[in-house]
Amino acid sequence: MFASIGEALGQLASPTLLLLCLGGTVAGMAVGATPGLSATVGLALLLPVTFTLDPASGLVLMGAFYMGAIYGGSFTAILVNAPGTPSSIATTFDGFPMTRQGRSEQAIIGVTIASVVGGVVGVVGLATLGPLLAGVVLQFGPQEYFWLGIFGLTMIAGLAARSLVKGFIAGFLGLLISTIGIAPIGGEVRFTFGFQPLQGGVPLIVALIGFFTIPTIIDMLADPAARQASMMREAESRRQGPVLGRTLRDVFSRPVNLVRSSVIGTFVGILPGAGGNVANLIAYNEARRASRHPERFGKGEIDGVVAPEAANNAVVGGGLVPLLTLGIPGAPPDAVVYGVLLLHGLRPGADLFTEQGALTFTFILALALAALMMVPVGLLAGRGLQRAVVRTPTRYLAPTIMLLTVVGAYAVRNSALDVVIMVALGFAGYGLRRIGLPPPAIVLGVVLGPIIETGFAQGLLTATGQAHPWASFFTRPISVVIIVLIVLGILWPIVSGRRARARSADREEVTR
């Protein structure tokens, strides 16, 4: 193995491969930053290019592109509340409030650090524990996916700060939206009302752009003064000295958050039934839960952008674990990477790490290198973009974002209907937010609905040989662990709420 790594290092040191790695990272970032163009679509576009390259070059290009695309998705999430890919949903929760407070530069620096750390941790996990971790995939059956989805739903408690009931209404609305189209298990057509184009359902990214970005544009137009104020604050903050150093110190002062989020990302990435879209949400929730200041989340807390971005870049390495060891794509973009591997005659399996070791490790090291390249590229290009967006007057920025959302929604499936759905959901989201239903909770429902539904139905079917198929949901070891986590997750807000109340009561007494 070490000989392979040495050989791989030697190969990667060639100028061509280094350039490909840099080019792939930059191109990936650009595609990732465009809402609607996900990492998967970008990789598919790149596929024919790799046919003309030798295997090492092709894989380096793909790997770097993938890493960059996941990172790039955070820019628009922070700057204009438009997650560039579904892996950056949670980044908007605190990233956009930071922009509004004139702290977008800090947010961009924060996600850059997070993405680099997450990317490297995922790759290290892949290189060192790859074959070992693969076993985890096989322990995770339908029942576990069901409970993982339910676990994700407990996040609603955190997203609905004001009213738990309204949070749940929003979450269930999202679950309902996710049931539109052909049922994943039963195969029947649901909620299309005889309108056949709805058979395909509502794609996640279309719902995301609609629910998050359209209300942002409306806000921008309704209250131009707010943006003016945040521009002023941004300039003010820069006068206080170099933002970079301050942010670095701030983020690295809580290394646990970085590590925890990266580990969550790596693990969720390994699961073929869940990818970056789930990982970033779970990491966000855990960061909030562990934080000493959970009340700051959702209002511009830097840990809230660090957590999801560390997690989603860790998914890259994690997702490749089942792919390289078992031939199972761990996340949707990995399906395309798989195609490239096969076309170059590389069959995933144990011998990919031994016989083909040099090539495999060239690929793995290129991923790590791409992660590291995000430091200079992100700090230059990312901050450049940030400054440009922040300085653009609203009268140009709002129509530009609108155009991006329309193009983005269209690009997901080359479907004009998706643009209509996106705009409709956007207005609905704006109205729902005004009556107190949080759009993030709706999106959570859209993400988790299919996972919960398939897990539930498959779990009942696979346990059909047992006396009580439903009992299998409560007897499997990993299921039990997740159930315990869910119970803790439900109890936690109650306990912490009581604690906070007790604390504030103490304070009141003191002041009295």
Binding site: P48, P329, V406
Partner: protein, 331 residues
């Protein structure tokens, strides 16, 4: 609250304009066929990037461009297991040969029959060429007690409905393959649909299901994991697996799998269809394409427009009878 509406109005009208694009019938006459092709061709795949159909199209692309003398753009329009794009092909796409679309069997046969109205009829899908297939395969894990198809059938007879078989989606090639085997062997099993090979494979290796009904490609990919193929749903043994018997050899008359090709809107002039067919026939002989297809485990098939249409009718009859027998047909 004051909102400036022009921007939103602009967006709404942009959406309407976009919705209007790509419609309007207007079939051009014979002159157009003679000049065909004289501009870029859109090759639409009704599935996600990275799947079998998508990868095939992308590896055909260069060779197709060579044969047709025009650039070919591959794009994806997924939704409803292909139904959304095929409904558009049948009703809205201009029949001029500049939009061609991947189409799959048995999908185009099963959707109109089992799912209700998907927005197109099987006959609306006009084949230009069928170029590859992936035969059905019954696969068990390394530590499975079933060594042969007979072991499996015997176990199913002893515990009717208790054996679980995973596969990709309901009303799919895998589902029909299992139904056909149930029918031929007179057994009952529980079919568990998964979202695709990425989720069904771990279910097999992790012991969640007793077997999977999948394709030869999965058998090839899982060779390293020590899985056993109990049989292939083909007429003859596959060259990649000379030791694995066909279901027919074992006494179960099951021919099953997925067939992939390219289709055009129903009113497309035959002269244009023939040109597309000729191009794909040549692509299917291109050594580089052939090598890559074989690497991926695809069986190469060569069926022109008429042959493909006839084959579709045959499959429609087979699958239709199965659906009827299991009470799954809606129409």
């Amino acid at each position: 609250m004051r909102i400036r509406f022009p921007v939103l109005a602009l967006a709404a009208s942009a959406a309407v304009v976009l919705a209007g694009c790509g419609q309007g019938p207007a079939a051009e006459g014979g002159a157009a066929a003679k000049n065909y092709p004289n501009k870029q061709i859109q090759y639409v795949i009704p599935f996600d990037p990275g799947g079998e159909s998508d990868v095939t199209a992308r590896l055909q692309q260069k060779a197709l461009e060579r044969e047709l003398g025009q650039s070919v753009v591959v794009s994806n329009k997924p939704g409803g297991g292909g139904a959304v794009a095929w409904a558009e092909l049948a009703n809205q796409t201009r029949p001029d040969g500049y939009t061609i679309m991947g189409a799959n069997l048995p999908h185009i046969v099963l959707q109109p029959r089992a799912q209700g109205d998907p927005g197109y009829r099987t006959e609306d899908i006009k084949w230009a060429y069928l170029f590859e297939s992936t035969p059905g395969a019954l696969i068990v894990a390394k530590d499975s007690p079933y060594k042969t198809i007979d072991d499996f059938v015997k176990a199913a007879e002893e515990k009717p409905g208790k054996l679980t078989v995973g596969g990709s989606a309901k009303f799919s090639a895998n589902h029909m393959g299992m139904l056909a085997l149930n029918d031929a062997a007179g057994i009952k099993t529980t079919y568990v649909p998964f979202s695709g090979t990425a989720t069904v494979t771990p279910a097999l290796l992790g012991g969640e299901v007793d077997a999977i009904m999948s394709y030869n490609t999965a058998a090839l990919e899982l060779e390293d994991e020590g899985v056993r193929v109990l049989g292939f749903a083909t007429e003859e043994r596959l060259s990649q697996f000379p030791d694995v018997p066909t279901f027919r050899e074992s006494g179960y008359d099951v021919i099953n799998g997925a067939w992939r090709g390219v289709a055009v809107p129903p009113d497309t002039p035959d002269a244009i269809v023939d040109k597309i067919a000729a191009a794909f026939r040549k692509v299917n002989k291109d050594p580089e394409v052939v090598k890559k297809m074989e690497d991926l485990g695809f069986e190469i098939v060569d069926m022109g427009p008429e042959e493909a249409a006839k084959f579709t009718q045959e499959r429609a009859k087979v699958e239709g009878e199965l659906l009827d027998r299991f009470g799954l047909a809606k129409q």
